[in-house]
């Protein structure tokens, strides 16, 4: 009603809700965002260049640090790329274990992402504690198999570094019995809370055409109504053996991204159930014994992509026949998903941008690399 001066505000690089060192250069008119420019690169640590002076196996722990929430998924994509480049077979049991780990990762990532996002909306840590609680249980399982909770470094070319221990499957079954109740609880929290609805419905709409033109992937794209999932579109590993659905939203707002994430957790649980049924016994081995870890792939290039919890994660490798990759490139979903942020936030209020940012679910380790 009253024309006010436009004001420029820096949100970040040090700010409670930028999920890392990230800056949003904001032009506001009153409380309305006129322009938003995402500025990143503060966390750049030379990941891709570093990879070119390391051997292939030495790079495996580095991929953990990309998206530190989902080290298993990163490992998977990188292992797939190297296996494609060097032509390494993976035993049946190893494939199952890999998919099992990756789907567990998806559940823990979505639980954490939802918790953090509601935290950004201003809830004082209780929803975050909800998310973290479930994540902790899954991290316990990861600790059981790999010895580490976050930086698992569990995958190897041609399999996984060691077989799952005996008590793993019973503990996982116990966890999975509790899971539906947890997911229902989370969904009720989202669907029935008036304030959460008011803060998420109609906020940060990303129309489907725009989403496609930006190359957005993952739950953000599916929230905009496009059923694109690499596990379906270009099944890798053994995903063609499982029966699961791809949830999509209709409007493309924050609320749809909520619901898509919750439904994806349910579908992941469905996959986990099928894995437990079909898991081959240990006789097949957890790693291809012929696969050399000090791999020396033939000259050529390979691109492998997986559906990481945040979207399409791809590794592009060029080999010159040596022990180190000649070129190493990461297609990081957080980075690509972050590019439409400026457009998505325009016209909304200052309070909404942190929610929109939270709903994109970025990890700055992956954005800046």
């Amino acid at each position: 009603m009253i024309t006010t001066d436009e004001l420029q505000i820096n949100i970040g690089p040090q700010h409670p809700s930028t999920h890392g060192v990230f800056r949003m250069l904001l032009t506001v008119d009153g409380e309305t965002v006129v322009h938003l420019e995402p500025v990143f690169g503060y966390l750049h640590r030379n990941h891709e260049q570093l990879a070119e002076v390391n051997t292939y196996l030495q790079n495996m722990p580095y991929t953990d640090r990309l998206d530190y929430f989902n080290s298993m998924a990163n490992n998977h994509a990188y292992a797939l790329a190297v296996e494609k480049l060097a032509g390494i077979e993976v035993p049946e049991r190893a494939e199952y274990i890999r998919v099992l780990m990756v789907e567990l990762t998806r559940i823990l990532n979505h639980a954490g992402a939802l918790g953090f996002m509601i935290n950004d909306m201003g809830a004082w840590q209780t929803p975050l504690a909800f998310g973290i609680r479930e994540r902790e249980k899954i991290l316990d399982l990861f600790e059981l198999v790999s010895g580490a909770r976050m930086m698992c470094n569990y995958f190897r070319f041609g399999g996984v570094v060691r077989d799952i221990p005996d008590e793993f499957i019973p503990r996982m079954k116990k966890l999975m019995i509790a899971m539906p109740a947890y997911m229902d609880e989370l969904e009720r929290l989202l669907r029935e809370n008036e304030i959460l609805l008011a803060r998420s419905e109609g906020i940060g709409i990303l129309p489907r055409e725009v989403a496609v033109s930006y190359g957005v992937t993952g739950p953000v794209l599916r929230g905009s109504g496009i059923a694109y999932d690499i596990r379906k579109a270009e099944p890798y590993s053994i995903y063609d053996r499982f029966d699961f659905d791809v949830p999509v939203g209709s409007v493309g707002d924050v609320y749809d991204r909520f619901l898509v994430r919750i439904e994806e957790m349910r579908q992941s649980r469905r996959i986990l159930e099928q894995i437990i049924e079909q898991l081959p016994d240990a006789s097949g081995g957890h790693i291809n014994p012929k696969a050399r870890q000090n791999v020396r792939p033939p000259v050529g290039d390979a691109y492998a992509r997986v559906e990481s919890p945040k979207g399409e994660l791809g590794f592009y490798l060029v080999s010159d026949g040596g022990t180190k990759p000649y070129r190493y490139k990461v297609r990081a979903p957080s980075f690509i998903n972050l590019t439409p942020l400026g457009d998505m936030c325009r016209g909304y209020k200052v309070a909404d941008i942190v929610v929109i940012l939270g709903s994109i679910d970025i990890v700055m380790g992956e954005v800046d690399r």
Partner: protein, 220 residues
């Protein structure tokens, strides 16, 4: 006891006049507004000395809580706080000062001293609490009370109309992405109601054509 009251009156008066003087003389307009609040506070103290409790509270509630905050707000909105090159006062401020000084010293003070005020020799203790005021408002002063209400309403409407811009001049609202896309007509309207659940696209049906796989997507 008299001396105490006189000292209190003196301190209050000095506070009022000093703050008022700062209001008209400081350069920074925010500081002027803060001095104005101090002045209002002093006046509330004076009302307490004059045993007008209710008025003192209303003074604080309305002048400090509403008018002064409104002034501060308006100053912050206009944001032209400090322009060191521009003088604070008009060119002719000296003549203005002279006029007001003459008004004070030659007109008001002699008048006040020369007039014979009809003061009761032995006035009873005053009490005009909310109950007495309420009766007065509802009986003797009912019409002025209602006129004041109408005045407030008119001021409210007037302020809104003045501060509101003309429809043509109004700055166009910042469009959100969805509105822009809808405006460009690139998107056929989606169903008006949101489905109860995100519909799982059946695994058998062919999915929407995927976006082109972006190898080395962001163009390093």
């Amino acid at each position: 006891m008299d001396l105490v009251v006189q000292i209190m009156f003196g301190v209050t008066g000095l506070l009022i006049l000093g703050a008022a003087f700062m209001v008209v003389s400081v350069r920074n307009i925010i500081h002027a507004a803060l001095w104005l609040i101090t002045c209002f506070f002093g006046i509330a103290m004076l009302y307490l000395l004059l045993q007008a409790e209710f008025l003192a509270i209303v003074q604080i509630l309305l002048y400090i809580g509403a008018v002064a905050v409104l002034v501060l707000f308006a100053v912050m909105l206009t944001r032209q706080i400090d322009d060191p090159d521009e003088p604070v006062l008009f060119q002719r401020w000296r003549s203005t000062l002279l006029i007001t000084a003459i008004l004070f010293a030659a007109v008001l003070v002699p008048t006040i001293y020369n007039h014979n005020w009809l003061i009761f020799a032995d006035p009873q203790p005053a009490f005009a609490g909310p109950r007495e005021l309420g009766f007065a408002f509802m009986n003797a002063y009912l019409l002025p009370f209602q006129i004041a209400a109408v005045l407030l309403l008119a001021a409210l409407v007037g302020a809104i109309i003045i501060a509101m811009e003309d429809q043509e001049q109004r700055r166009v609202r910042v469009l959100t992405l969805a509105e822009e896309v809808a405006l460009r007509g690139e998107r056929e309207p989606s169903p008006p109601t949101r489905p109860a659940n995100p519909q799982p696209a059946s695994s058998s049906s062919n999915p929407t054509p995927p976006p082109a796989p972006e190898q080395a997507g962001e163009g390093a």
